[in-house]
């Protein structure tokens, strides 16, 4: 494995973790109940820790996080989607944490460059996945209103899920096999939550797999502006 190839994959996984961490952090002060506020902050912190390790494999973590332009980010479009209502956030967590858990479980076996991090991350993400699954069950099989919101979120985010299973240079995993297991798991959870598995295509012609190539959706620019503002206005600032 060449260094450059490992860098491509480290950026992809590191940006996923960084961007989702930032999105979850936006819930601070807004979550429906205090316990949930704490849970989302803890999940965000796990992801931030993973992002720091991954981005450090690719270069200087601060420069990569704060000084890159939008087009240089390699995260999935799924993780940059705005929080929306709580159902939206839960479904985004379900789709992503299931993928991330399955992926890290594979990366943790073997002796590739990501094995040490994956061995830690897989245990952390197991709790994120459990958290998302429990909420999916509770809200999907809850009131009419919660069911409807969950169903809407499932549909809205569905088209971003195909991108997770496009091969990434330097990631030694069978993307097809990963997708099969992911679909099986998500289908199982949604069914038990009395939700309908969306039927639409899992990537749009205009967005297909584009986050990993640096093409992002409109809300991402605004998120980055907020995330990078302080560092860019006060270079080298520290606490």
């Amino acid at each position: 494995m060449t260094v450059a190839v490992a860098t491509t994959a480290a950026l992809a996984l590191g940006d996923d973790a960084l961007v989702l961490s930032h999105r979850l952090g936006e819930w601070a002060g807004h979550a429906p109940v205090l316990e949930e506020e704490v849970a989302l902050a803890n999940i965000a912190l796990d992801l931030l820790g993973q992002a720091r390790v991954l981005l450090s494999m690719a270069g200087d973590e601060d420069e990569l996080a704060y000084l890159r332009e939008e087009r240089a980010f390699r995260n999935l479009q799924l993780v940059e989607q705005p929080n929306g209502d709580f159902a939206h956030t839960v479904v985004r967590q379900l789709y992503f944490s299931t993928y991330q858990h399955l992926l890290h479980a594979r990366l943790a076996t073997g002796d590739g460059p990501f094995a040490p991090l994956a061995a830690k991350a897989v245990k952390e993400v197991a709790y994120h996945r459990d958290h998302a699954e429990q909420w999916t069950l509770r809200l999907g099989d809850g009131t009419d209103a919660s069911h409807e919101r969950m169903q809407r979120a499932c549909e809205a985010l569905w088209r971003f899920t195909g991108e997770m299973f496009r091969p990434v240079e330097g990631l030694d995993v069978d993307a097809r096999a990963l997708e099969t297991v992911w679909l099986e798991s998500v289908t199982g959870v949604l069914s038990r939550a009395t939700l309908t598995v969306p039927e639409g295509p899992r990537s749009g012609a205009w967005t297909a797999g584009a986050g990993r190539q640096g093409v992002h959706t409109e809300p991402f620019g605004r998120m980055l502006a907020e995330m990078q503002h302080l560092h860019r206005s006060h270079p080298g600032a520290s606490w």
Partner: protein, 171 residues
């Protein structure tokens, strides 16, 4: 088994006695995060530390505390290195550490082979070994929230004595 020199064993003990910044009832040795101390030159030492969670913010405070303790012990140059592998697990917490946690009101993590792997059987509790209340010892406890004040803890409540308590989650 790596053989330690007498000095390394001594320094390992000094660094291991540093209290955990978030759970000061535990030492770093009891928490199981101190991996090694290598003497590189006469007064230059390298310490290997492993984080509990990848994003654990306490790791920087731990590093500084270890440096301070070793400086005080007469070591001029101390560098603390973070190592990820092999991954830390709650099984690395010593028996003494578990006892102290319980005494402090935190239910210690269960041995990881005594509870089924977390994933991913949906449904109510799926563990064979119940989490016991650290106050009264009752096995009749329920989960309130999977995430508590820090990533490593869950919030539970005892159904016998009604007290809420933190549970150090198995990892």
């Amino acid at each position: 088994m790596v053989t330690l020199t007498a000095l390394e064993a001594e320094l390992l003990e000094v660094a291991g006695a540093v209290p955990d910044p978030e759970l000061p009832v535990l030492t770093l040795h009891e928490l199981g995060v101190l991996r090694a101390v290598h003497v590189r030159a006469e007064d230059s030492v390298e310490v290997e530390l492993t984080p509990t969670y990848t994003g654990c913010p306490a790791i920087e405070a731990m590093s500084l505390d270890i440096e301070r303790a070793l400086h005080k012990h007469g070591i001029r140059q101390v560098s603390v290195r973070t190592v990820l592998s092999p991954a830390w697990s709650t099984d690395d917490i010593s028996a003494e550490g578990r006892r102290k946690l319980r005494e402090f009101g935190i239910a210690p993590p269960r041995a990881r082979d005594a509870c089924e792997p977390l994933l991913i059987e949906l449904g109510p509790t799926r563990t064979t070994d119940p989490v016991r209340c650290p106050h009264c010892g009752s096995a009749d406890t329920e989960l309130l929230s999977r995430f508590s004040s820090t990533a490593c803890k869950a919030l539970r409540r005892c159904l016998s004595c009604r007290e809420p308590f933190d549970h150090f989650k198995e990892l």
